[in-house]
């Protein structure tokens, strides 16, 4: 920070501009210019050094409110004369702090080790024409670095030279974003072969974290010539962390180093999500804090009232010390208040935080361990990125799912195409019959329909208009890990083992489809695309420009030059984005096919082309070059040029690609709906396609009445869209909200056939109209209408969504009334925004890279795993943690209540009822393990039943176990127990001669009896709640009780030299020798558990019944 600020101060104006200038090889063109210092290539991921570890770590730990609270309590105990020794709260705090510090220290040590490994890694740098070895951390911006095959790049480099002839290199970014396919990167064109004499500067933007964006330009100074300017894009940039593949060696110039590399910038933590349970805990904490303060206040006030009576404040037998007498009355009151706070502070235990954290941390392992989540295809199981949200999985009310790759497999298969209005159906759609021959029937049929020229044009378009790479068959060894991504192609005799790699599986499907019809894409060779046509001739096309795909434009184009010299533009894209850009008379013939295909659930793309005249091309070329060189607003400028070029095309045809449903997609969706979860499908796809997918997933049933709010329905009335929107919204609202019968029981609703199910469909354009209505007043009204309609529909389909709109919708629902818990699930980069936005984000380890997984909270291999994740794991985690929290508050309430009541009998003197050892150990040793075991192992309903009866999920909906009612119940139970313990023993002690030899018991015996009853009751209460007794539960529950007994014997059996007072010496043993004590202990334990047992019995008849009912249904 400081250095950066200093730099800024010293560097003056130049540092503040948005770009940086780099001299390749430090060869400054004008020697006078000051060389700007960039940060070095040291990666520092560690937080601490040896020197600052202690203060910094302690500071970080005490910044947390809970730790700080306990520290304050501890300090009060040290400073003020308090009833309990500082050890009672200091020891647990010390324990927690130490364990955390050790853990963080260890992690930091690992980071240091990893940092060192990276920073000290030797790299080869070209310096003054010599290759020198250096530590990686010594690389400076502007150094020319050599990287060999299979090495990772030590910093962000601009590729200058590659050992491959075509100036490319291959890279995998597996460790960056998990995509293990090979990506091609290009050298900057026109750089000299001799790097020693290369004189160039690079201007580029300041470091920014987006991995896929980069703009810059390179000025190459050749002797006495005008400097040449080349644009630099992400395809020239090699990122630190990526690995060089299939290329012997490359040279690159260091651009961003150390902490300014994109990798380092990317690993800045995401904002933390907090679960609803945590919020409940905080609310309860507040209540208990109020209880604590009011207890302390009551005691303080009563103390002074009591003391004002004559003879009570300072009777002759109990005089105050001189210091006490001299203290100011108000100061004394204040310290008394603090003392009471300290005495009762155990009501908010340190150990709860530790236990909750342990439970979450350990509990999350069960997700990773679950073998049902293991997918044999990708050989991976579930991944837990955060353990904070385990219980949130049991609270989900809305699921937002992506369609492609999530509901569907994203495993595209070419189904049919339509050329010039004629349908070409590939008959052997089943992929088992692969051996498709050029001369076979279907092709002949093809030839019969449309003109041969049109047909070939269409197929050429399919072969050319894409960014697919051909996977080069590697001779040695099996193809590592890529096989599942590459899809080994059709075993076609001449092109055996041909694999295609592309960013989108549609493109692979299209290229393969073209291959079936005789046109095979052979690959790209030094900007020439090679195609093997039907006559087994190789056609060459020079690739002039790629107008890349983006989700806003929803299309992509290529500009190629054929051998004959014609310049052609091929464009493919969604129908909505192509139709307005082609001649209208061609549209109608194809639109029919496109719509039919879409309703069948296929993904359709339209293909168009146009000839570019020389002027047109020159103009486009110049425009593109200019836009690409722009440092600012490059995207917008490019978009403008794209839109300008992609006009007046002629439509050739359309393709249909099938995207199969994920395994068990329908079952999963049905289970989710049965669990009372509303499923919203958010997709960028067409409405028809999405709708058919929804039907296939049984999100929409035959009986579902669909309410459509799309551009088409808006245009129906022939009136202004705004008016129509208004009208439709009101109409739907009336139908779905006002006329719908009020919800009674959650369960009856979906199963009863009388009530009408509604499905709602909206598209991106209409959504933006709803959200950003022209008039402010309407906007909020529409929004609420829209929300109300959606909330009353069983499922909602939002199609044609841009990624940001997905997040917008999630946000809108998240912030709607009742703050429902939302879950987003998706697999692609376009789902990241909604994954981050939702309460719980789930990534699917799909084909579209690992971005979703990286940004998710949980990642699962398949959609079908969602069912178990929510219905079983989520449900169990929620029940466990809810019980854990309630139990913790309960057990500390009935722990402290007797101590509070005792104040009324000891002159409000803050005399603790229990011995310090018991006060300290109660939460740490005697009662912590059983609840931890419970909260890890409990299955109040076994997993199979949970999976079979989705409706059980509704029982815990809306934070059911942590609302005020259950909280009140637990609190009352705690109060009841506390009262019982205290007064039961109080009446026993009305005659303290409890032994058969007439000897009497004192105050410590009193406390020990209460404490024994307390420990046993609290543990047995948990035992009563435990429905799933594994050997661990048995061990821990009975072990805890045994431990308590043994500890008490031990603690009371020895005169401890370090103790000032031997309070408990033989107290426990003497207690056990008294029959009355035994009898009162048994009586009180039974009496406190009696209501619990009664409740269980009275409640039970409903339990099995409802379960039977479910079986019936």
């Amino acid at each position: 920070m400081l250095r950066r600020r200093l730099n800024r101060l010293l560097g003056g104006d130049e540092r503040r501009v948005d770009s940086r200038t780099i001299y390749v090889g430090h060869r400054s063109s004008s020697p006078g210019e000051p060389i700007i210092k960039f940060c070095d290539n040291r990666i520092v991921s560690s937080k601490y050094t040896v020197w600052n570890f202690l203060p910094k770590n302690l500071f970080e730990q005490f910044r947390r409110i809970a730790n700080f609270y306990f520290l304050i309590i501890f300090l009060v105990q040290v400073i003020v004369d308090t009833p309990t020794s500082p050890v009672t709260s200091g020891l647990p705090l010390f324990f927690v702090i130490t364990v955390t510090a050790i853990k963080q220290g260890y992690e930091d040590w690992l980071r240091h080790k990893a940092d060192n490994e990276v920073n000290k890694y030797p790299v080869t740098v070209l310096e003054q024409g010599e290759r020198t070895r250096k530590d990686s951390e010594k690389i400076k911006v502007g150094d020319v670095v050599e990287v060999e095959e299979d090495e990772t790049f030590p910093c962000d480099l601009i590729l200058l030279q590659s050992s491959r002839d075509d100036g490319t290199c291959y890279v995998t970014t597996a460790s960056l974003d998990g995509e293990s396919n090979h990506k091609t990167h290009y050298t900057v064109s026109d750089t000299e072969k001799d790097l020693e004499t290369l004189n160039a500067t690079i201007e580029c933007e300041q470091p920014q974290p987006d991995l896929y964006k980069f703009v810059g330009r390179m000025h190459i100074y050749k002797n006495d010539q005008e400097p040449v300017v080349r644009s630099l894009g992400p395809e020239n940039l090699l990122l630190k962390g990526a690995t060089l593949k299939n290329t012997q060696r490359i040279y690159g110039v260091a651009l961003y180093t150390g902490m300014e590399t994109k990798m380092a910038l990317n690993y800045q933590g995401k904002s933390q999500k907090r679960s609803a349970v945590e919020k409940s805990i905080n609310a309860f904490l507040l209540v208990y804090l109020c209880i604590l303060v009011s207890k302390a206040l009551v005691c303080t006030i009563l103390k002074y009232v009591w003391q004002s009576r004559p003879g009570q404040d300072e009777p002759w037998y109990n005089e105050k010390t001189q210091r006490d007498k001299e203290t100011n009355l108000y100061l004394k009151m204040f310290t008394d208040f603090l003392s009471f706070m300290v005495l009762f502070n155990f009501i908010i235990p340190v150990s709860m935080y530790v236990t909750v954290e342990m439970q979450k941390f350990l509990g999350s392992f069960f997700i990773t361990w679950d073998k049902d989540f293991f997918d044999p295809e990708i050989k991976e199981g579930a991944l837990v990125n955060t353990s904070d949200l385990n219980e949130e999985l049991g609270q989900v009310e809305y699921v937002f799912t992506d369609k492609t790759g999530t509901l569907t497999q994203n495993n595209m298969e070419f189904i049919e195409c339509c050329i010039d209005g004629f349908q070409y159906k590939y008959r052997d759609a089943s992929s088992e019959l692969d051996g498709f021959c050029v001369a076979d029937g279907p092709v002949n049929k093809v030839q019969e329909k449309a003109g041969r020229a049109k047909e070939e044009l269409f197929l050429r378009a399919l072969c050319l208009c894409h960014t697919v790479q051909v996977k080069e068959p590697t001779e040695q060894g099996p193809v590592d890990g890529l096989m599942d991504q590459v899809d080994a192609g059709v075993p076609h005799p001449p092109q055996e083992q041909r694999g295609f790699i592309a960013s989108s599986p549609d493109e692979v499907a299209l290229v393969k489809g073209a291959m079936r019809y005789g046109f095979t894409f052979l690959g790209l060779e030094s900007r020439n695309m090679k195609i093997l046509n039907r006559n087994n001739d190789v056609e060459m096309y020079e690739l002039l420009h790629v107008l890349t795909f983006d989700p806003v434009r929803r299309r992509m184009s290529v500009i190629v030059r054929s051998n004959s010299g014609d310049t052609l533009l091929f464009c493919k894209g969604a129908d909505s984005s192509i139709f307005p850009r082609v001649r209208q008379e061609e549209v109608e013939r194809i639109r029919m096919h496109v719509e039919r295909n879409a309703t069948e659930g296929y993904r359709t793309l339209c293909v168009a082309y146009k000839y570019l005249s020389a002027e047109e091309f020159a103009q486009a070329d110049a425009g593109l070059m200019e836009a690409r060189l722009a440092l600012q607003n490059r995207e917008e400028k490019l978009l403008a040029v794209y839109n300008q070029v992609e006009t007046d095309m002629s439509l050739i045809g359309a393709t249909a690609v099938e995207d199969r449903l994920q395994e068990e997609a329908a079952e999963t969706m049905e289970a989710l709906q049965g669990a009372g979860i509303k499923v919203w499908v958010l997709t960028g796809d067409k409405m028809e396609t999405a709708k058919s997918t929804c039907y296939a997933c049984r999100l929409f049933q035959r009986s579902t009445e669909l309410l459509e709010l799309t551009v088409r329905t808006l245009e129906d009335g022939g009136r202004k869209r705004e008016e129509r929107l208004h009208e439709l919204l009101l109409e739907y609202h009336k139908k779905a909200v006002q006329d719908a019968p009020p919800l009674k029981g959650g369960i009856t609703r979906t199963w009863s056939s009388e009530t009408q199910d509604y499905g709602f469909i909206i598209d991106g354009a209409t959504l933006s109209m709803v959200l950003n209505s022209s008039s402010e007043s309407n906007s909020s009204r529409y929004k609420s209408l829209f929300l109300q309609i959606c909330q009353n529909c069983t499922s909602v389909l939002c199609c044609r969504m841009a990624p940001l709109q997905k997040a917008q919708i999630v946000k809108m629902v998240k912030n709607s009334k009742g703050n429902p818990i939302t879950l987003s699930i998706g697999d692609g980069a376009n789902d990241v925004s909604m994954i981050l936005e939702a309460h719980v984000g789930i990534g699917i380890k799909g084909k579209e890279g690992r971005q979703a997984v990286r940004n998710s909270d949980y990642a699962i291999p398949k959609l079908k795993h969602l069912k178990k994740l929510l219905l079983a794991h989520g449900h169990l985690y929620y029940v466990r943690i809810a019980h854990l929290v309630q139990y913790f508050f309960y057990k500390n309430l009935c722990f402290i209540l007797p101590q509070f009541l005792y104040q009324f009998f000891c002159g409000y003197s803050q005399q603790p009822l229990y011995d310090a050892a018991y006060l300290t150990m109660y939460n740490i040793c005697f009662t912590s393990m059983p609840i931890l075991a419970y909260s890890l192992l409990e299955q109040h309903i076994c997993i199979e039943v949970l999976l079979d009866n989705a409706a059980l999920y509704r029982e815990i909906a809306k934070n059911g176990m942590l609302r005020w009612r259950p909280f009140l119940y637990w609190t009352l139970l705690g109060v009841f127990h506390g009262l019982l313990f205290f007064f039961g023993v109080r009446y026993l002690f009305s005659n303290p001669a409890l032994q058969d030899n007439g000897q009497v018991f004192g105050n410590w015996s009193y406390g020990t009896i209460v404490f024994t009853i307390l420990v046993f009751t609290v543990t047995l209460k948990l035992a009563l709640d435990t429905r799933h007794w594994t050997w661990i539960n048995h061990f821990v529950i009975w072990g805890s009780l045994l431990f308590y007994v043994f500890f008490s014997f031990f603690w009371g059996g020895i005169i401890w030299p370090f103790l000032k007072q031997q309070r408990l010496y033989f107290v426990f043993a003497n207690m056990l020798s008294s029959v009355s004590a035994w009898l009162v202990i048994i009586l009180l334990i039974l009496l406190s558990l009696l209501p619990e047992i009664l409740l269980v019995v009275f409640r039970k008849p409903r339990g099995p019944n409802s379960r039977q009912m479910l079986h019936l249904l």
Binding site: T172, T243, G381, S1076
Partner: protein, 369 residues
């Protein structure tokens, strides 16, 4: 709060550095198929139903009621006699003593309280003194002692712990035993006389041993310098607690009941739980099988009135009690057991009725399924 300390994200979020050359390592870790990891540990799944709980209710009822009756009868059979000798009323024989009390008076004030025992006390009789509104459990009071000194530690004898303040030093001499508890030791002397019907009054022998916990007397408390030391020499250089009339080594003539191991002292040092309490004072041993320990008749309690309680509105009592296996007289346990037992039994009956009715319905439903 402490969330991030165990945060998995925290660990994963940091830069994962793949060593160069380490390319994409396939993580193909298939989860182990163990019962624990798959949450399939064999488990006992008890379900509490009316059927399983009902017998428990009846058993509890059937067990508790007899125990309760036994306790109640036992408690009722215990004979207890209590007499208040505070001297708060003018009519009370000890009124004068309580009125004219002064710490400095050298001549002890004595008062005699006559009483009549309506029943003979057959077995051992335990004599207690009881105090009311005396906060022995006040925090300042409870901690005002030095267990190390009481255990016989010579160093602590010379330098009493700070906790004993303001009863640690007097005239720069350490107080032995120090602290408020010791200082306020009950020092009334109670003596019992049986007034024979033929006019003679017989002094009743009061046993002074066996009133304190054995472990207290033999382990927790110990005289400095060991068992056989010359106490007056050992306690040289210390001073007696302010309110005491005699130094600690003159509490009893019996060497084994003198100094810190004096049982009266040990009993007093075990602080009471509640402001109204009793402490064992003496034991009247049964002398022979034939004669009751305390026959029916007139008695006199002779009190050497040394202990002022009226300044804090306290009360003093003398209690005579026999003892049973459950200790002193206390009807609470018996009543509680009878109540709980009856409630359980009653609930059992109610549950049985409900269960019988509902059970039929339930069964019907199951059959129809």
């Amino acid at each position: 709060m402490m969330a991030s300390s165990y945060n998995a994200k925290d660990e994963d979020g940091h830069i994962t550095v793949t060593g160069p050359g380490g390319g994409a390592v396939l993580r193909s870790k298939k989860p182990e198929n163990t019962a624990f990891k798959q949450q399939r540990l064999p488990a006992w799944q008890p379900i509490l139903t009316a059927g399983t709980v009902l017998p428990a209710f009846f058993i509890i009822g059937l067990l508790f009621i007899p125990i309760g009756i036994g306790l109640f009868v036992t408690s009722n059979n215990i004979k207890e006699f209590e007499i208040d000798y505070t001297g708060a009323d003018t009519s009370s024989p000890c009124f004068n003593c309580s009125q004219n009390f002064s710490w400095n008076s050298t001549s002890p004030c004595t008062c005699t309280v006559p009483f009549y025992l309506e029943q003979p006390y057959e077995s051992n009789v335990y004599v207690y003194y009881g105090l009311s509104n005396f906060y022995q459990n006040h925090r300042r009071y409870v901690k005002s002692r030095d267990d190390s000194q009481l255990n016989g530690n010579l160093k602590s004898l010379r330098e009493p712990s700070k906790e004993c303040e303001p009863y640690a030093y007097h005239n720069n001499k350490p107080i032995a035993p120090c602290g408020a508890i010791a200082n306020s030791m009950f020092n009334d002397t109670l003596e019992l006389f049986y007034n024979d019907p033929n006019g003679t009054s017989v002094k009743i022998l009061l046993g002074t041993t066996g009133i304190a916990w054995w472990t207290d007397k033999h382990v927790k408390f110990g005289n400095p310098g060991g068992v056989d030391s010359n106490l007056s020499a050992v306690f040289q250089g210390t001073t007696k607690p302010l309110n005491w009339r005699r130094p600690v080594y003159e509490l009893d003539s019996d060497q084994s009941n003198n100094g810190f191991v004096n049982e009266d002292f040990i009993v007093w040092m075990r602080t009471a739980a509640l402001p109204t309490f009793r402490k064992l004072y003496r034991i009247i041993g049964k002398s022979s099988q034939m004669v009751p320990t305390l026959p029916r008749g007139n008695y006199t309690l002779e009190v050497v009135y040394n202990y002022p309680v009226r300044s804090f509105e306290g009360r003093k009592r003398m209690i005579l009690s026999t003892i049973s296996w459950m200790g002193g007289k206390n009807p609470f346990l018996g009543i509680a057991y009878i109540t709980v037992g009856s409630v359980c039994f009653f609930l059992g009956v109610v549950l049985l009725v409900i269960h019988h009715k509902c059970g039929n319905r339930n069964n019907g439903a199951e059959i129809s399924n």
